[in-house]
C-alpha cells in the first residue's frame, strides 16, 4: 500500500487518485484502511472517507469475479435496457448491486456508456456488448466462469 501511495503522491495529496490506484491493485478499498491512508497522505480521515463514499466506482467490499454493468442511459432506455436488466436479474437471481452466491457475478447499472448508437449496452469487466437482446443474455454469460 505504501509503495502504491508513494507512486501517485503529488503535491498536494490527491486522495481520489490514491484511492483509485489502491483499488486497481486490490480490487477494492476496505473502510478500515481509511485512517492508515489518511496518515500516509497527510490529510484527515474525514476527507478520505468523504471521497471514498462519494464516488460510485470506489468499492469498500470486494465485487464478484466478473462485474456486469447494464447501461441505463436514455438511448438504452428507449431500446429496452429494462428488459435486458430484468433478464439478467432473473438469470443471476441477483438484484442490482448484489453478488451471486459463489461470487461469480456482481450486477450493477451505469448511467451512460457513450455507446448510444448501438444500444442497449451491457459491459462485463472490460468487454462491451451492443444491440443486446434479452434472448442473447444466456450466451453472453456463458463466456464467464
Amino acid at each position: 500500500m505504501k509503495q502504491i501511495l508513494n507512486q501517485v503522491r503529488s503535491e498536494p495529496a490527491n486522495i481520489l487518485k490514491s484511492l483509485l490506484a489502491l483499488q486497481e491493485q486490490f480490487g477494492h478499498v476496505p473502510g478500515q484502511t481509511v485512517p492508515v491512508i489518511a496518515k500516509m497522505l497527510g490529510v484527515t480521515t474525514a476527507e478520505v472517507a468523504g471521497v471514498l463514499s462519494y464516488y460510485p466506482d470506489l468499492r469498500t467490499s470486494a465485487p464478484g469475479r466478473h462485474v456486469i454493468r447494464v447501461c441505463m442511459g436514455e438511448s438504452c432506455y428507449a431500446n429496452g435496457c429494462g428488459r435486458v436488466l430484468r433478464e439478467l436479474q432473473e438469470r443471476l437471481r441477483a438484484d442490482v448491486h448484489e453478488t451471486t452466491p459463489g461470487g461469480r457475478f456482481t450486477l450493477d447499472t451505469m448511467s451512460c456508456a457513450g455507446n448510444c448508437a448501438v444500444s442497449p449496452t451491457v459491459i462485463i469487466d472490460r468487454d462491451l456488448y451492443g444491440r443486446v437482446l434479452p434472448s442473447q443474455v444466456d450466451r453472453i454469460l456463458e463466456k464467464y466462469t
Binding site: 471521497v51 466506482d57 436514455e74 438511448s75 428507449a78 457513450g114 448510444c116 448508437a117 451492443g130
Partner: protein, 501 residues
C-alpha cells in the same frame, strides 16, 4: 500482395461487431487490416472499406463470411454516395473513418497542426481576437463565448495557469467527445495547445470519465507520440498534458465539480463567482472547456474566425455535432451547420423511426433536456431558438422515444437519475430530487392525486430557481415537459377518485 481493408476500432463499432471481425480475420495473410476511426454511421457498422478508383468502397453490417465478396469487389458502395454522410458538413469530424487515430503523419497530411502553426505566428491577443471574430460558443451546454473566457484567464494574475479539457461526457445520449478522444486525439491536443498559448498556461489536464477506458488509453498514447515529436512545448517551455480518470460521478462534468475532483476531493460544485477563468484549479486561472470545443479551435485558427462565423445561424455560428440515438432507424453522428430543424435531422439523417415503432417524443440535450412531442419538431437546432423554447441543446444528444414508452416511468427514471447523481451540496437538488422521485413513484403505484401533480410543478420551480448548478436547475425540465405534453398518461395513473378533478 495483401489487400488493404479498413475497419473502425471505435468502441461502438467494436460493440457492433468490428471486434469479432478483426478476431475472425486475424490469421488471414491475404488482407492487411487498417484500424481507423469510425465515420459515425453506426447503423452501418461494422463497415469494411477498401480503396477504389474514386475513393473508398464500403460494405455494411459485415459478418466474417462476407470476406470473399469484399475481396472480389462485389456489392460495395462508394462511401461518397452514402446519403447519411454525403449530406453532412464535416469539419471537426472530417478525418473520421479516414485516418488511423494515432498516425500523427496522417493527421498532419490532412491539415492537422496548421491551426497551431497559425497560433505561433500570432500574439496571444490576436489569437483571442480570432476567436472573438469566429463567435465560437462553448459546446458544453452553457454556450458561453469562448473568446471572453480566454480573455479573462489571460488577464487574470496567477502563479500558474491551467488548461483543462472536460472529457467527462456524462449526458446520456451523447458520444461525440468519446469519438474525438478515440478517433482524432491530436485535434484535441492541438486545440488545448492553442488555448495555452493564448492565455499563457503551463500545464494541461484531460479529465476523462472512467466509463471511457479506450478513450483514455488512446489519448495517453497520443500524448506520448506528441511528446516524442516535441509538440508539447510552448515558447521553449514544456507544456505537459496529463490524463486523469474520474470515478463515475455525473456531476463531475460540471466545471467546478470537475476541478474539485481533479484536485482529488469529493466532486461537489463550487459557488460561482469566482469563475474558473479567474480562480480554478488550485486557485489558479483555468480554462475548462469540453473536448468538442477544443477540437473546433484548430480550424478556426487555420481558416480564420470569419470562416467559422460564416457557418450556422445568427447567434449560433459554426457546426454542431448531433448524436442520434434511441428508436431512430439510422443512429449515428451528424455534423451540420446550426439551423436545421429537428424534423429535418430526424428524417434526412435519422431515416425516420426504427422498424415497427411510431414516434412519441424526442429529447435533446441529455437527461436534463426537455422532451418535445411531434408538434415541436419544427424547432431549428440553434442556441437561441432552444433557449426561447425553454430547452437546451446541451451536448447535442438526440434520443427518440417510440409509442411503447411509458411517460410516467420515463419521468421517474429522470428524477431517480438526479437523486442518484446529486452532489448534495445544495438542498433544492439533494432533497428536491428525492421528493420528486417519491411523488412519481406514488403516481406509478396508482395512489397519486391531482395535488401530487401540482406539487411536482411547485417543486420543479423551486429546483429551477434555487439550485447551485444545472443538475438541480435542469432536472425538472424533462419531468415537467413530459407532464405538459402527455398529461393524460399521468392523469390516468392517478388514484380513481382524483382522475376527474
Amino acid at each position: 500482395m495483401a489487400t488493404r481493408l479498413y475497419l473502425s476500432n471505435d468502441t461502438s463499432a467494436r460493440a457492433a461487431g468490428a471486434a469479432a471481425l478483426a478476431e475472425a480475420w486475424a490469421d488471414r495473410s491475404d488482407i492487411q487490416l487498417i484500424r481507423t476511426s469510425s465515420r459515425g454511421a453506426f447503423f452501418l457498422e461494422p463497415m469494411v472499406e477498401r480503396d477504389g478508383a474514386d475513393g473508398r468502397i464500403a460494405w455494411f453490417n459485415v459478418s466474417p463470411q462476407d470476406l470473399p465478396a469484399i475481396l472480389s469487389g462485389k456489392g460495395g458502395t462508394p462511401v461518397q454516395t452514402i446519403p447519411f454522410l454525403a449530406r453532412q458538413t464535416r469539419w471537426t469530424f472530417a478525418n473520421f473513418g479516414e485516418t488511423e487515430p494515432l498516425a500523427l503523419d496522417e493527421y498532419q497530411a490532412r491539415g492537422g497542426l496548421s491551426g497551431l502553426e497559425a497560433a505561433f505566428r500570432l500574439t496571444p491577443d490576436a489569437i483571442i481576437e480570432e476567436l472573438r471574430v469566429s463567435q465560437l460558443r462553448g459546446r458544453g451546454g452553457a454556450a458561453f463565448p469562448v473568446w471572453n473566457k480566454w480573455k479573462v484567464a489571460q488577464q487574470a494574475k496567477g502563479e500558474r495557469k491551467y488548461v483543462v479539457a472536460n472529457a467527462d461526457e456524462g449526458d446520456a445520449g451523447t458520444y461525440c467527445d468519446r469519438m474525438i478522444l478515440e478517433g482524432d486525439p491530436f485535434r484535441l491536443l492541438e486545440g488545448m495547445l492553442i488555448c495555452a498559448r493564448a492565455i499563457g498556461a503551463g500545464r494541461g489536464y484531460v479529465y476523462c470519465r472512467q466509463e471511457y477506458p479506450a478513450a483514455a488509453a488512446t489519448l495517453r498514447a497520443a500524448i506520448h507520440k506528441a511528446d516524442e515529436a516535441e509538440l508539447l512545448e510552448l515558447d521553449g517551455e514544456p507544456f505537459p498534458i496529463e490524463v486523469v480518470e474520474g470515478a463515475g460521478s455525473y456531476v463531475c462534468g460540471e466545471e467546478t465539480a470537475l476541478l474539485e475532483s481533479l484536485e482529488g476531493k469529493r466532486g461537489v460544485v463550487r459557488a460561482r463567482p469566482p469563475y474558473p477563468a479567474q480562480s480554478g484549479l488550485y486557485g489558479c486561472p483555468t480554462i475548462v472547456s469540453n473536448v468538442l470545443t477544443f477540437a473546433t479551435i484548430p480550424h478556426i485558427l487555420s481558416r480564420g474566425g470569419a470562416w467559422h462565423a460564416s457557418l450556422g445561424t445568427e447567434q449560433s455560428r459554426g457546426t454542431i455535432a448531433l448524436q442520434l440515438g434511441g428508436r431512430v432507424k439510422h443512429p449515428g453522428l451528424v455534423e451540420v451547420p446550426f439551423g436545421l430543424s429537428l424534423r429535418q435531422v430526424l428524417e434526412e439523417f435519422g431515416g425516420g423511426m426504427a422498424p415497427g415503432s411510431r414516434f412519441k417524443a424526442v429529447q435533446v440535450g441529455g437527461p436534463l433536456g426537455s422532451l418535445f412531442p411531434a408538434t415541436g419538431l419544427d424547432l431549428p437546432i440553434c442556441y437561441d431558438a432552444f433557449a426561447k423554447a425553454g430547452a437546451v441543446l446541451g451536448h447535442g444528444g438526440i434520443v427518440v422515444y417510440d409509442h411503447e414508452t411509458d411517460m410516467v416511468d420515463l419521468a421517474r427514471h429522470f428524477m431517480a437519475f438526479t437523486a442518484d447523481e446529486s452532489c448534495g451540496k445544495c438542498t433544492p437538488c439533494r432533497i428536491g430530487s428525492v421528493r420528486g422521485r417519491e411523488i412519481l413513484e406514488r403516481i406509478q403505484a396508482g395512489s397519486g392525486t391531482m395535488d401530487d401533480l401540482r406539487l411536482l410543478d411547485d417543486l420543479g420551480e423551486t429546483m429551477k430557481l434555487a439550485s447551485l448548478c444545472a443538475l438541480g436547475g435542469r432536472a425538472p425540465y424533462p419531468v415537467l415537459t413530459a407532464i405538459e405534453h402527455f398529461p393524460a398518461e399521468f392523469r390516468n395513473k392517478l388514484s380513481a377518485v382524483h382522475r376527474q378533478s
